[in-house]
Symmetry: C2
Subunit: 575 residues, 2 copies
Amino acid sequence: MKPQESIADKVARKLPKKLRLIRVARGEEKADVVFKNATYLNVFSNDFCHGDIAVADGLIAGVGQYSGHTEIDVSGRFIAPGLIDAHIHLESSLVSPAEFARAVVRHGTTTVITDPHEIANVMGVEGIRYMLQATEGLPIDVHFMLPSCVPATPLDESGYSLDYTAIDPLYDHPRVLGLAEMMNYVGIVNGDADVVRKILASQAHHKKIDGHAPELSGADLNAYIAAGVYSDHECSSCQNALEKLRLGQFIMIREGTAAKNLRALLPLLNQQYYARCMFATDDKHPLDLLEGGHIDHIIREAIACGVDPVIAIKVASHHAARYFLMNNKGAIAPGYLADIVVFDNFRSFQIEQVYKRGRCVYADGEVLPFEAPAIDPLLAQQAHDTFHLAPVTADRLKAGELPVIGLVPGEIITQNCGRADAVRPENDILKIAVVERHHNTGHIGLGYLKGYGLKRGAVATSIAHDSHNIIAVGASDADLAAAINRISALRGGIVVVENGAVVAELPLPVAGLMSDAPLEEVNDLLESAKAAAHAMGVPPAVDPFMTLSFVSLPVIPALKITTQGVFDVEQWKYL
Amino acid sequence: MKPQESIADKVARKLPKKLRLIRVARGEEKADVVFKNATYLNVFSNDFCHGDIAVADGLIAGVGQYSGHTEIDVSGRFIAPGLIDAHIHLESSLVSPAEFARAVVRHGTTTVITDPHEIANVMGVEGIRYMLQATEGLPIDVHFMLPSCVPATPLDESGYSLDYTAIDPLYDHPRVLGLAEMMNYVGIVNGDADVVRKILASQAHHKKIDGHAPELSGADLNAYIAAGVYSDHECSSCQNALEKLRLGQFIMIREGTAAKNLRALLPLLNQQYYARCMFATDDKHPLDLLEGGHIDHIIREAIACGVDPVIAIKVASHHAARYFLMNNKGAIAPGYLADIVVFDNFRSFQIEQVYKRGRCVYADGEVLPFEAPAIDPLLAQQAHDTFHLAPVTADRLKAGELPVIGLVPGEIITQNCGRADAVRPENDILKIAVVERHHNTGHIGLGYLKGYGLKRGAVATSIAHDSHNIIAVGASDADLAAAINRISALRGGIVVVENGAVVAELPLPVAGLMSDAPLEEVNDLLESAKAAAHAMGVPPAVDPFMTLSFVSLPVIPALKITTQGVFDVEQWKYL
């Protein structure tokens, strides 16, 4: 382990670079790179400024008249600071952080703040460490908020349970910025000491605490904010967002693959409120990453809806930097990181070039090649070995009368559809199972599912929020067992089985959540698997896997299923 | 020495208070204090909100409907967060920090950021420690920036010389926020390693660095900012302020006793720029403290000049809190300190009540009594024993031909008025002496002064920027010696002597800079001394002591005097 660097050593180490920065700023020495004739958004004066932007050792040295070893003429173009995604779970992309970076850097993203909530539920602190290693030295900076809710609920059988002491040793990591979305707002407002301690610990480290409290309001919201939760990204109504903003929370306007709140929150994007707003995606799925863009997409949408481009770009960069105390990001000015985006104009807002610390990472439609970070072999092995369960036989999945969970198209809430005593695909009654896979407990929760439409075979996935056990649905116990066992054999993934044979599959061997393959390949396999599931009867309005992934999240009404069986969220009891 | 508290201990210590805050916010438990029917400035939504403000253990628990053990009806009044002076040298008030606090708290000031530059030049690190102890537990919070330029120039014979290692052990103090105004901008832009190291050390501690660079511009300004100087309070023109703002510096709009920049910088106080602005006074002299107000005065002036009151109040509170990363100050919202100002209306902006951490500190025209902090006896003794010089005889002040420094009324710059060979009061030629008083070196710098007007006697002061030796001016060597020796006997102060006898004096026994007496008494003595000096010939346009205090500052053109004699600032050499 590296010993902590003394202040004296740090001062000595940084001196030569600082002295060079001063000489370059003064024009006594040539810059490494100069963006000549730049028209850039000045986030301080809220207008556009002109000049040459000089870069030395990755930092902006000055803006004015400069010459450099490399000179890039950017006349006729516009420059903005690199874009920032204030809150995402990288695992949602199903690919490695390196693949994610390759996908988003072309969209002008130079920094994301991730919450490794999913992998932490599987691997605990080692999962967070894995993501820290997997994000080292990428062409985007990946900062971390430490997962606050592992497991998400006391009902969950996750891989690990993390209290404040478990995550405490990670706060010193230079890329850790605080405590991630505190979903357990019920625990906070009820004064659950174990939950409140997590906030106190982050505050003791002088770090941020993000929130997650959909529609929380009034006295409970006061209590949640007084406890120390500084932001929220779960605002789907402007009224709720404004109440939170007035009480001091920063609002992360979320526009991702699953949840889209930009339109509802457009009234925040004006002079009166925008200083307290950022953009976030929360999740980005493979197809959306390939086709939809990232933060640049949100800017385009906002501008198309009439938002002042200066406001949109500041919300997309400067404000997240300020909130997270990343004081060298989010602006084009001396001393800031040369994280620079070159774009065409304000109507189409197409990113043409991207520079990270002054180094070109995207130009002419191509992301420049970079090496994926190395991961400790032992840690990599651990991440690829997270399935600990015995093979499941069809016999173990036999069931008599059980509750029926009814899907609601396009929603993650479900309905209570009474009870059933057998699978009846012709009546859209399928069997659903959640199989504990972390500690080989043999726990299997069983129930019935309505609205999924499968006519034959079975589907299974190891992405099952938030504990990521194996969730499977099928028309026969034999195919159900085959799908579950195939997931286990793959060490994670998504599979579609018919008559005992795999007809489509996407291996996700990293903690059962992510692939090691390129994004395009992952997307192709995922789309093929979706097509296979649809071909077997899943209606077009239902995403075969994402829908399934949320049926195991026992905080969303009405019925959900865990390794213990079907749970009634409204009555807060197993049925 | 107190051992550093572990995170676990800190979490445990803070838990009960946090749980109570949550209960009070939720309305499950009565608040300590509730401000009923409050109309308060919401610095987040930039409008006025209404509700009851509940306080528990000094923190705002919630805003809504609350009841408390004490309820204060504030209907018909307005509430704002406590006001903040972003930069001051407390020593300039000539009184103890407790007396200063007593004077400003009635004006709604709840926080000041001080730079103990003057006392550090006399006492070194012990001077900073003295001020830290003297500001503990006052009804205002006093935060510190560590002096960056002790001595101010290599020409100075100050009490101490502080490099980055000397001040480093103070960064861990919870009230130290960074490195104070980096006046040595010449050293920075020339890459003087000793100077740049001071910035690197503050950055290594994740602290702020304030600037001081009048009219610095262009490539030099880029270099200064790239080095890591985040703010400036020396903007006297809007053009210079805008250049600094555009390059990323926060602008402290200074309006104090000596320098007044508000009117010149009014164009910054609008939607486009105000987010990067704060208010500061830099210095506040006794009479101004008693009669002129403090930050509230700047707000009144700004509003009278047409500035939006919301903008004026945010610049006076919220923005300084954000800049200095005091995240629990500058807003009325859950989790923030209950530093609250009650005022009448936006035209007169008269402060009626002030609350610090929810406790009333000013109401009904009276500051509530408080105890002045205790100082370590040894440290107090050191502070009262900073004059180390042998008595000066009139013989030691004899001089032949020497340069003549010419005062310019109302300015701190001077003129070169040639040479003289003797004192001639009838021609307004007086003798001026700077007597080294820290290390008994016996160094005495001599010269002549024109424009001071004294007809007889002598005047001396131990406030002599920035090294605070004894500076004296007189019509006779005997009176000069008497004035100097009286200063020494008093262990600091201001004296007026005629025919060997003291006709007026203000003792300043704390480091030769501050009194232990009440502000009113200090002001009376100071005004009497001024009157005595004026009666002896000093013209009304010349402040007899403040003018003298700056004649020893060898960075301001044209001629200045140090313990080594008269110095030509433009030629940078002794004459």
